[in-house]
Amino acid sequence: MKKHKVLMLGWEYPPFINGGLGIACAGLCEALSQFSEITLIVPKILQRQPNKNIQIIGLNRLNEEYIEETIVEHESHDSHEVYKIDVQLNPYHVEQNEVVEKIPSHKITAKIETRQKFGLEEKIDFENLYGNDVIQKVIYYSELIKKISSHFDFELIHAHDWMTFLAGVELKKMTEKPLILHVHSLDYDRAGSDSRGWIYDMERSALHQADLIMPVSNYTGSILTSHYGISKNKIKTIHNGIGNSIQSFRKEKTFPEKMVLFIGRLTGQKGPEYFLDIATKIYRKFKNVRFVIAGTGEKLTHLLEDGAYRQIGNRVHFTGFIDREKINELLSMADVYCMPSVSEPFGLTALEAAQFGVPTVISERSGVAEVLSGSLKADFWDIDLMVEHILKLLSDNKTREKVIHQNNKALEKLTWLNAAKSVAEAYEMILNK
C-alpha cells in the first residue's frame, strides 16, 4: 500500500485537551503514521514537537513564513461569468486586492489569483479552545488553514469534529481533494434531538459535502443516517483504540463499603441524574456501598440538592473537578464503573475503567457498548436493569470475574493500530475511486 499524504485537521492535541477528542486524535495519528504521511494542524500545541512521523503544526506557533502574503490560486472548472459585487457582509475579513471580474467563458479552467492578506493583529487567542466565542475561533481557524494550506503537499483532507469541518469543506472547495470527516461527537449528542442552530447546520452541510465519514461507533453512524440524513454508503465506523500509556494499578479503599463510580461532565448528555436514580434504588436494597460522582458541570448544584432531597447525601460523594491523577486514583479504588449516558458517541472512560480492571455497566446508547463485550448493558432510562447489573457485580464474584475477563480480551483488540489500518484502507479506497 502506498503511503498517502494526508492533511489532518484537529482541534485538541495533548496536553491541551478537554475530553476524549484530543486523546483520540493523537492516538490515531501516532499509529496511522506507519501507513500515511501526516500533517496535522491544530490551533494550539505546547511547543514545536519534533515528531519524525507526523508533522504537527500549531497555529499558536506559526512561523512568519506562513503568515506573510501568499498567493492562493483558485481553480475554477466552471465557465460561468463571475461578477464582482460590493458586499458589506464579509465573514472572513479577507481583503481581496485583485479580483478577476469576469472569467472568459471559453476557458474551461480559469486560474484566479487572489492575493490574501492576513491581519495578524486580528489573531484570535486560542488560550481557551472553546468558550462563548468558539464559533469565531472556528471561522478564524478555517481562514488560517486556507491561508497556509498551499505550503503543504497532500492528497486528501481528514478533519476531526465540527470545529474543523468548516476548514475541511473550504479546503475541499479550494483544492478539490477528497474530504474525510471523522465524527467523535455530534451536536445531537450534546443537544439531543432538538439540536439545531449554526453548529448543527454547519455540521450537516459539511457532512453532506464529505466524501467519506468516519464515526467512532455504529451508534454515532446510526445518528448520522437518522438525524443528519447521511447515506449509509458514505459511512465507515472506526472504533477508537486505547493507548497503553496509563499504568493501571489497584489501591486499597480507605473505607469498608463498596464503591460505584461515575465519571463525566455533569451535563444532561452524560446522564448523572440517572446515576442518582440508580444510586437511590441500590442503596435501598444494599447498604454497604458508596457512590462517587466525579466531574463538574452545570448540573452539579442541582444534583447535590437532589441527593440531599433523597437523603442519600451521606452515600453519594461529589468530588468536583479533579485532575488525571485523581481520576486514576478513583479508578483504582472502584468496584463498579457505571456510565448511564443518554448519548455517548464512544465513551473512553469506560475503556479506562476496564483497563483498571473495574467491571463496567454501560448505556446501550454508547460506542463502547459495541466493543467492550464484557460490559453489562442497559438503556440509560432502564434504572431497574442498571441496578440489577450493579448489584450482581457487587455481590456475585463469578459475574464480576467474567466481565473483567471479557473486557480484558476486548481491550486487546482495541488498539490504535487496528483503527489506523482501517483508516489507511479507507484512504486507499477513496483515492482509487
Binding site: 480507605t254 469498608p256 440531599a308 452515600r315 460523594h317 468530588t319
Partner: protein
C-alpha cells in the same frame, strides 16, 4: 424608669475543613484549626480585649449602675481556652464585678432542642457547669441557640429550674403585643424577655450603614430613640462582636458605646438592669402564646435560616441519627466531635436563601457556596461515621 436589659452575646463556631472525598476513612482533622485560630486571635485583639476593658471601666465609673448580661457559647470558651486563655481571665475579671449576669445556653450552640431533648439537656448542663467552673456563677436566665423560643421550650426550661428566658421579638409571633414589656410563658411560670430587634439592629447591623440618614450614628441620637418606646423595659441584645469586629475601631464604635452607656447611667428616664433583677410574678403580668418557633435569624425570624432546603434537612437528620451510636461508645473525644458538628453555623452556611449563582456571598461562611458547605460537611460526616463503626467493631473484638 424604663429598665434596659443589655445582653451581649458572643459565639464562634468550630468551622470545618474543606474535607475531600479522597480523605474519607483517613480521619483527617475535621476542623479548620488554622482558620479558627486566626479568627479567634483577630477577635481577641480587635474586640474582646478593648471591649472588656471599656466595659469594666464603665462599670467602675458608673459606680456600678451599669449592668448587663452576657451569653458566651461553649464553642467560644473552648477556643479561647485553646488559643487565648488570657481572654477567659479578662472575662472572669469583668464578671467578678458582680454587674454581669451570665446566661445559660446549649454548650455547642446547637439546634439540639429540635432533634433530641436528651442531648439538649446534656448541653445545657455542660454549659451550666462550665460557667460555674470558670466564673463561679449560677445562671438563672436561659437563652436558647439564636434566640429560638416557643411555648414548649418555656415549659421545658421552667422544669429545669430557670426563672427567665430570652426570645426574639418577632412581630409575626407577638401578633400585636409589645416587645417592651415582660411576659409570662403560656404554660409555665417563666419570664420571657423579647428582643427589641429594631433598636438592637440599629447598632449591630446598621451602625456603619452609610446610606442611613443618621450616619454616622451619634450616641445622643440613639439615646433619643431609646426614650421613645412606651414599655416598662427595653431588651437590647447585641452581638459582642459588634465592637471592633463587625464595626472596626475606626468607625468610632467604641466611643459610641462609651458615650451611650454614660448617657444612660446619668439618665432620669432609663436605667440598666440584669434580667434576674426584674423577674416578675405571674399575677403581675400577662402570659404570651408563642406556638411556633421564633429565632432572630434572617427576615423570617424562624428556623428557616438553618432548615429550609434539602441539604440542611439532610445534614441535620444525619448528625442527630448518630446520637445512639455515639453515646454508646462512651468515648469523650468522639462525643465532643459529634457535638461540635451540631453547631448551628454549619447548617447556616448551607442556606440558599437569597443565593443566586454565587452572587451573594454569605458574610459569615468560610465556604464559597452553600453547596460547598454541604459537600464538605457530608464528607466529614461520612468519615465520622466510618470512624464510629470502626470503633464499635474494635470494641466488640476486645469484649470477646
Amino acid at each position: 424608669m424604663t429598665k434596659i436589659h443589655l445582653m451581649l452575646k458572643t459565639h464562634q463556631p468550630r468551622r470545618i475543613n474543606e474535607y475531600s472525598f479522597f480523605d474519607l476513612g483517613k480521619h483527617k482533622s475535621y476542623f479548620n484549626e488554622g482558620l479558627n485560630r486566626i479568627i479567634i486571635q483577630r477577635i481577641a485583639e480587635n474586640c474582646y480585649l478593648p471591649t472588656i476593658k471599656l466595659l469594666k471601666r464603665l462599670i467602675k465609673e458608673s459606680q456600678h449602675t451599669f449592668k448587663f448580661s452576657l451569653s458566651i457559647s461553649g464553642t467560644t470558651i473552648d477556643q479561647l481556652e485553646k488559643y487565648r486563655p488570657d481572654i477567659i481571665l479578662k472575662f472572669l475579671e469583668l464578671i467578678s464585678t458582680g454587674n454581669v449576669e451570665v446566661l445559660n445556653e446549649p454548650y455547642y450552640h446547637s439546634l439540639a432542642y429540635f432533634y433530641s431533648k436528651d442531648e439538649f439537656f446534656s448541653q445545657v448542663e455542660l454549659h451550666r457547669k462550665k460557667i460555674k467552673d470558670l466564673f463561679n456563677v449560677e445562671p438563672v436566665t436561659f437563652v436558647n441557640t439564636e434566640l429560638t423560643y416557643n411555648n414548649q421550650i418555656g415549659v421545658d426550661l421552667f422544669n429545669l429550674g430557670f426563672k427567665g428566658i430570652l426570645a426574639e421579638g418577632a412581630e409575626w409571633a407577638l401578633r400585636g403585643a409589645n416587645s417592651d414589656y415582660e411576659y409570662f410563658a403560656k404554660d409555665a411560670d417563666l419570664n420571657v424577655f423579647f428582643r427589641n430587634h429594631g433598636l438592637s439592629n440599629d447598632v449591630v447591623y446598621r451602625f456603619s450603614d452609610k446610606s442611613r440618614e443618621y450616619y454616622p450614628l451619634k450616641p445622643s441620637i440613639y439615646y433619643k430613640w431609646l426614650l421613645k418606646p412606651t414599655g416598662d423595659i427595653l431588651n437590647l441584645f447585641w452581638d459582642f462582636e459588634t465592637f471592633g469586629e463587625y464595626h472596626k475601631k475606626e468607625s468610632n464604635i467604641f466611643s459610641f458605646l462609651e458615650k451611650l452607656i454614660k448617657k444612660i447611667t446619668k439618665s432620669r428616664n432609663l436605667e440598666f438592669a440584669k434580667f434576674s433583677e426584674t423577674m416578675r410574678k405571674s399575677t403581675e403580668i400577662n402570659r404570651i402564646n408563642i406556638p411556633q418557633t421564633v429565632s432572630w435569624a434572617d427576615q423570617e425570624k424562624d428556623l428557616s435560616a438553618w432548615r429550609s432546603n434539602a441539604m440542611q434537612y439532610e445534614a441535620l437528620v444525619r448528625i442527630y441519627e448518630l446520637e445512639k451510636q455515639v453515646k454508646e461508645l462512651h468515648d469523650p473525644e468522639i462525643l465532643k466531635t459529634w457535638r461540635n458538628l451540631q453547631t448551628s453555623d454549619h447548617f447556616y452556611y448551607m442556606s440558599t436563601k437569597g443565593f443566586t449563582d454565587g452572587a451573594i456571598l454569605n458574610y459569615f461562611s468560610p465556604f464559597l457556596t452553600p453547596h460547598d458547605a454541604y459537600r464538605y460537611y457530608m464528607n466529614v460526616l461520612s468519615d465520622f461515621e466510618i470512624m464510629i463503626n470502626k470503633t464499635i467493631y474494635s470494641n466488640s473484638l476486645h469484649k470477646n
